[in-house]
């Protein structure tokens, strides 16, 4: 990196310079090497595009993108940007179209992102028009490669990114298949505007250490304690992870009491415990599985509460977190009702997730004026290997391993 000023101390992954959450030059390089680099970025669900002409607008990093199904049943993705003057092509979040036409000068594009029409291309009454040498085929918004895995639509600007299954690796694929093994239905969409750099949120997702310390709900109701059976899987690249656990009353132990933690306290009980009643739907006993894919995708199963989350940077200290709540298409009314109740755990007002919305902002404000200092990420050692215990920051280090690889940051400085 030519603009480099950020010092990464040592070859290890246990220190993260605070400047990576605030530095503008870093953010520009990130857009190019991470989001438009050799990564697969979550775009939407295939059920979001039910028929030929169905489209959704989304983003890869900060780059606006259209995802659309054509009549051939294939899904295409391209920049939401007119080749002429750069205006957005699609203004709505979703809809159905025959083709896309820029409102500015009426240049039009087919559903595969090809420029097919230039208004007054031959001029008017023999005057004006584009030069004869102008070739529409040579112009158009940049197209993305598209891959669909288990109903998740991913896109990549890179020609070098490996096929999606290879990118994810066997273990991550299996863990996605575990949840998305049958057709899903969207039951709600909500966006949370987070007052922090996007990396603070994706670190938080990978941080199994904080979960039962910050979130009293998890601890008190035995949803997730570090003493429960479970583990953390980190893939070889480091960028993807799975944290999972099983509710097991027999695993309750005194470790939280001994630490005198705020999050363990006995007075608080639910008057209406149906919010946590739930039903068994996976035969492996796993009641919580949080899975992330580098850079900004999360698949969540907390009890019967299913959702995908898309993390998008909207500036150095702003992040858009898009929640899509899911049920299965074959849910009974009772099962669907249960999911609606359990959604109280997550999202902007979630008994668990509201805190994740806040802590990133606490860090962002806390590190102001401390750009030369660094965070400590040393819980559970200095490696990025999978772990049975969850009092570890192994998957946070994994994120930085993948991030540094994409950014071309070696052991020393950025």
């Amino acid at each position: 990196m030519s603009e480099q000023v950020i010092q990464w101390h040592g070859a290890g992954l246990t220190r993260v310079p605070y400047a990576v959450y605030t530095d503008a030059a870093m953010a520009r390089v990130e857009q190019e090497r991470v989001f438009r680099g050799a990564t697969w970025n979550y775009l939407c669900l295939d059920v979001d595009l039910p028929e030929g002409g169905s489209y959704r607008t989304t983003a890869v990093g900060e780059t606006p993108v259209i995802v659309v199904k054509d009549d051939d049943g294939e899904i295409y993705a391209f920049e939401n940007r007119c080749a002429h003057r750069g205006a957005l092509l699609a203004l709505e979040k979703s809809g159905t179209v025959k083709d896309f036409q820029c409102v500015y000068h009426a240049w039009s594009y087919n559903r595969q992102g090809d420029l097919v029409g230039v208004a007054f291309e031959k001029g008017v009454k023999g005057q004006g028009g584009m030069p004869a040498s102008f070739c529409k085929e040579e112009h158009g918004p940049r197209k993305l490669r598209v891959a669909v895995f288990c109903g998740l639509v991913f896109g990549s600007f890179s020609e070098d990114v490996p096929p999606i299954e290879e990118y994810l690796g066997e273990e991550i694929c299996a863990r996605i298949e575990r949840v998305l093994h049958k057709p899903v239905q969207v039951i709600g969409r909500f966006t949370q505007a987070l007052p922090n750099n996007w990396k603070l949120y994706v670190e938080n997702v990978r941080d199994s250490y904080h979960a039962s310390l910050l979130h009293l709900f998890f601890t008190t109701f035995e949803l997730n304690r570090l003493s429960q059976k479970g583990g953390v899987i980190v893939d070889e690249s480091g960028g993807h992870h799975v944290s999972f656990s099983m509710i097991d009353p027999a695993a309750a132990d005194a470790s939280y009491k001994e630490q005198g933690l705020r999050s363990d306290h006995d007075r608080y009980r639910l008057k209406d415990p149906t919010v946590l009643a739930g039903f068994t739907e996976y035969d492996d006993g796993i009641t919580l599985q949080i899975l992330s894919v580098f850079p900004g995708f999360v698949l969540q199963q907390i009890q019967n509460c299913l959702a995908v989350r898309q993390v998008l940077p909207t500036g150095q200290d702003r992040t858009e977190l898009n929640w899509t709540y899911l049920g299965y298409a074959d849910d009974t009314p009772e099962q669907r009702g249960m999911r609606l109740k359990q959604l109280n755990l997550v999202g902007p007002a979630g008994f668990i997730s509201m805190e994740d919305g806040a802590v990133g902002g606490f860090v962002q404000r806390g590190i102001a004026g401390a750009q030369e200092l660094e965070a400590i990420v040393e819980m559970g050692g200095d490696g990025t290997e999978s772990s049975e215990g969850r009092a570890t920051e192994t998957s946070v280090r994994g994120f930085w391993k993948a991030y540094r690889a994409h950014m071309g940051i070696d052991g020393g400085t950025a």
Binding site: G188, Y268, D272, T274
Partner: protein, 154 residues
């Protein structure tokens, strides 16, 4: 008989309980079996049933207040509700159906005030004895985006 003035007075008292940080009183505005949900216009338009808050009993509302007081971590904040005049779809001796626009400003611990939410309550009121109660309140927010988090009820 439920009339417009009575609905206005009910809403004013409801807003006051929240804005004055008397959150423990908030569930008492609801019937024991009730529906309280916060959603947005896009979900409503598409018929998507999920809420960012979803409660189907007064006890769940009490649990939410207990969680806010005892469990959840969020910066100190308060609201100021400005409620419009209800549009009454129907009203008789037993109940009423009405919609009421709201604007909620959020005042943060830092002293900053921002418009946090606008939208409308879609309500179904019932009379229990002489007491007016909400059998259903769906807060449909105009924006699909929530800034940072929603802790206090709308």
């Amino acid at each position: 008989m439920i009339d417009l003035l009575r609905l206005c007075a009910f809403n004013a008292a409801y807003a006051q309980a929240i804005d004055n940080d008397e959150l423990e009183r908030w569930p008492s505005f609801f019937a024991e079996r009730c529906l309280y949900r916060i959603t947005n216009v896009e979900n409503e338009r598409e018929g998507l049933p999920a809420g960012i808050v979803y409660a189907d009993s007064r006890a769940m509302l009490e649990d939410r207040i207990a969680a806010l007081r005892e469990a959840n971590i969020y910066e100190r904040q308060r609201y100021r509700h400005l409620l419009g005049i209800p549009v009454v779809a129907s009203a008789d001796a037993g109940g009423a159906v009405a919609t009421t626009p709201f604007l909620v400003a959020r005042i943060m611990a830092t002293g900053e005030t921002m418009v946090f939410a606008s939208g409308e309550y879609r309500d179904r009121f019932v009379l229990a004895g002489d007491q007016l109660l909400l059998a259903e309140r769906v807060a449909v927010c105009d924006s699909t985006v929530t800034d940072t988090l929603l802790a206090l009820p709308l």
